[in-house]
């Protein structure tokens, strides 16, 4: 103990650290200070938690498209506590937004932005915008379909302002509206290099200004003696932080953060949605169409942000008791109702997604274990819109084929597939018809699971695989001959260029091969190669 004292004294004499901390802790606070003023401290702790979990994620994360998804999958499926760390970061972001907004509402209701605290307020507004920017840039980083398509919408909105739009788009690395390696690099750099130090700087200024002007008193405080910040208020801040933290840990443990399929720019079925706290903007946009779109997307949000920043200059009245601040309370209540209504409407009008939100969390997905003929049959089913009548998971005009295998005889099925209803003819070829018959009569569990969830690109690849009769020489997922090498796990020792070149000219790549050359269109080649490369060992 004596030695510790000695060390502290030595440090104090050289750095003044002890008196500095004491100066910070023994600040005077007004007698009315209490539970309503804990939110700033909670927000700061929330930020520090995000920094901590963010660094941990970055230690196992490869920030390039494609690799990003694979490394995140590695974090959540292979590493101990990886799922938990990602959960803390993901839910921590959402809870931080909640805390920051509550902090803002408290300041608004208590009128703590009034003279001389205008600068503190405006720095706080900047911090709110930065918190939202963190959410927006972090959303892309898992590089699954949700991330990709959500960001497509975001960048398109950013492109709307006249004149500036194309430049904003270029700044986001999304020239021409597509999202790729440059967009990803920009979002990642902003998320980890630009925003964190900016946040720290602004928090420092914010706290400095709070200290300079002191915690906002209420009119009655004038006659009461002041209190010290430590220990009573620090205790209240700590308890509030602890409650926040307990909620965060509970969510990170109990609610799994989704990871869908890897981003697929050619997927036309994915329904993009922004993160929950941006849903109200998304919903509001629906009300502004055509030339009015810019009003909802740019003008109104800009005016709202401007009004927020200028609040201290709009409301110049003298300080009042909280109960008399009816205007501010009405504004906050109105904002909450409006936000909730728009968000609820956005959720209600979102059609159910066919994509398995946890597809990326399984080590091997159902479709990857399916023989190619079955996956191709799913393709035939989709190609001829069989799902219009045979709705998957529901009974529609036709029976739900995922519930039970079809009992119909083969002849009946073939006829039905050729002409499902009077006056409707399909384009299915003979091998496709036979594949479909076998699929609906002998369906497997993996087939049923893959039916709605298999990514369309892979399904198309399997159709090319079947049409090219690869099965005649190669074995894949237990089906096919073994004249040629088996194809499971081929990606372990061949890259994409090799495979694509090999299809066009097999002898050039493996001398002595008896495989014929395949003249595939570039689309089919892409699908076939992509499909084969995703079949695990």
């Amino acid at each position: 103990m004596k030695m510790l004292r000695g060390v502290i004294d030595w440090l104090e004499e050289r750095t003044g650290i002890e008196s500095g901390i004491k100066h910070f802790l023994y600040e005077d606070v007004p007698a009315s200070a209490g539970w309503h003023q804990v939110l700033g401290s909670v927000a700061m702790f929330a930020f520090l938690t995000q920094v901590f979990t963010g660094i941990l994620l970055a230690l196992n994360y490869a920030p390039t498209p494609g690799e990003a998804y694979n490394s995140l999958r590695y974090i959540v499926t292979e590493l101990t506590a990886g799922q938990l760390i990602r959960g803390l970061h993901h839910w921590g972001a959402s809870l931080m937004i909640i805390v920051v907004v509550l902090h803002l509402m408290q300041v608004l209701i208590w009128g703590a932005y009034k003279k001389p605290r205008e600068a503190t307020w405006m720095v706080g507004c900047f911090l709110l915008l930065i918190t939202l920017a963190f959410g927006l840039t972090g959303y892309l980083l898992p590089w699954d379909n949700r991330a990709y398509w959500g960001t497509v919408v975001t960048t398109q909105i950013a492109a709307l302002p006249p004149v500036a739009g194309p430049y904003v788009l270029r700044l986001l690395g999304s020239d021409g509206g597509s999202i790729g390696a440059i967009t990803f690099a920009r979002f990642y750099a902003a998320h980890v290099l630009l925003l964190p130090p900016l946040t720290m700087l602004l928090i420092a200024i914010h706290v400095f200004l709070v200290r300079r002007h002191g915690v906002t008193p209420i009119p009655q405080d004038a006659d009461l003696p002041k209190k010290k910040f430590y220990p009573e208020q620090v205790f209240k801040d700590t308890v509030a932080t602890f409650i926040w933290f307990a909620v965060l840990v509970t969510m990170a443990v109990a609610v799994r953060v989704p990871l869908g399929h890897v981003a697929d720019p050619t997927d036309t079925s994915y329904i993009p949605r922004p993160e929950w706290y941006f849903l109200f903007l998304f919903q509001m946009l629906k009300a502004f169409q055509g030339p009015l779109e810019i009003v909802g997307a740019v003008i109104l949000p800009t005016l709202a942000i401007l009004a927020l920043f200028l609040a201290p200059f709009i409301d110049r009245g003298t300080a009042l008791r909280v109960r008399e601040r009816t205007g501010a309370i009405a504004l906050v209540v109105f904002a909450i109702i409006g936000w909730s209504a728009l968000t609820a409407r956005a959720i209600a009008t979102t059609p159910p997604s066919t994509e398995d939100p946890d597809a990326g969390l399984a080590l091997v997905e159902a479709w990857q274990e399916l023989p190619a003929d079955q996956l191709a049959a799913i393709g035939a089913f989709r190609k001829d819109n069989c799902g219009n009548c045979h709705v998957i998971g529901k009974s529609g005009p036709g029976p739900d084929l995922t519930r039970a295998a079809s009992q119909r005889p083969t002849d009946w099925l073939i006829q039905h597939f050729k002409q499902p209803a009077p006056g409707i003819a399909t384009q299915l070829k003979n091998p496709e018809l036979r594949g479909l018959v076998s699929f609906v009569t002998k369906r497997t569990d993996a087939g049923v699971k893959a039916w709605p969830s298999a990514p369309q690109a892979a399904v198309e690849g399997a159709m090319v695989y079947q049409a090219s009769q690869c099965t005649a020489c190669h074995k894949l997922n237990g089906v096919g001959m073994e004249t040629g090498p088996p194809l499971n796990g081929v990606a372990d020792h061949r890259n994409r260029e090799w495979l694509e070149g090999h299809f066009a000219d097999p002898q050039k790549f493996s001398p002595g091969s008896t495989m014929p050359a395949y003249k595939l269109s570039s689309h089919d080649l892409d699908r076939l190669t992509g499909y084969i490369m995703q079949i695990p060992k």
Partner: protein
């Protein structure tokens, strides 16, 4: 001024709750960084050469391909071993790095020993240290012989 019991309760609660939160973050962080990834620990033998290709008593550098898991990537890459055929049924496959600081060594035909060019460690044909700073004999891959083929495993044993 508050009573001193109240003040000490506040201080203890601040330290307690703060400590609890720190521990709740530090424990999963330590597990995340220090515990090995779950899968990818199965050992795997790959064919490297035919036994008949090797002369008894003469080490050969054998190049073979093996699949290696590197984080989230599965690599199929070239790998080498110095393989010594002892007799008809026994081979030794030395891992290709010097046991000092991991440089690649080679067989010196003239001197009849392994020489590491970095700090001139030399090893006998049995892998024992003859001279230089190497702290222990050459490491060995586990091997199997199956129908005249030499199979090299992933596991490396220290001699």
């Amino acid at each position: 001024m508050e009573s001193s019991t109240r003040r000490s309760f506040y201080s203890a609660a601040i330290a307690g709750l703060g400590g609890l939160m720190t521990a709740a973050l530090a424990a999963p962080a330590a597990a995340y960084l220090l515990i090995r990834p779950k899968s990818q620990k199965q050992s795997d033998f790959v064919p490297a050469a035919d036994l008949s290709q090797l002369t008894v008593g003469k080490p050969e550098e054998v190049v073979f391909r093996r699949t290696r898991v590197d984080g989230w990537r599965v690599l199929n890459e070239k790998s080498t071993a110095w393989v010594l055929r002892k007799d008809d049924q026994k081979v030794i496959a030395y891992a290709p790095q010097c046991t000092h600081l991991g440089c690649a060594y080679h067989w010196d035909e003239k001197e009849n020993n392994f020489l590491c060019p970095c700090h001139t460690s030399t090893f006998s044909i049995d892998g024992k240290v003859l001279s230089g700073p190497a702290p222990r004999p050459l490491d060995r891959f586990v091997t199997k012989i199956d129908q005249g083929k030499i199979l090299i495993g992933t596991e490396i044993q220290r001699a």
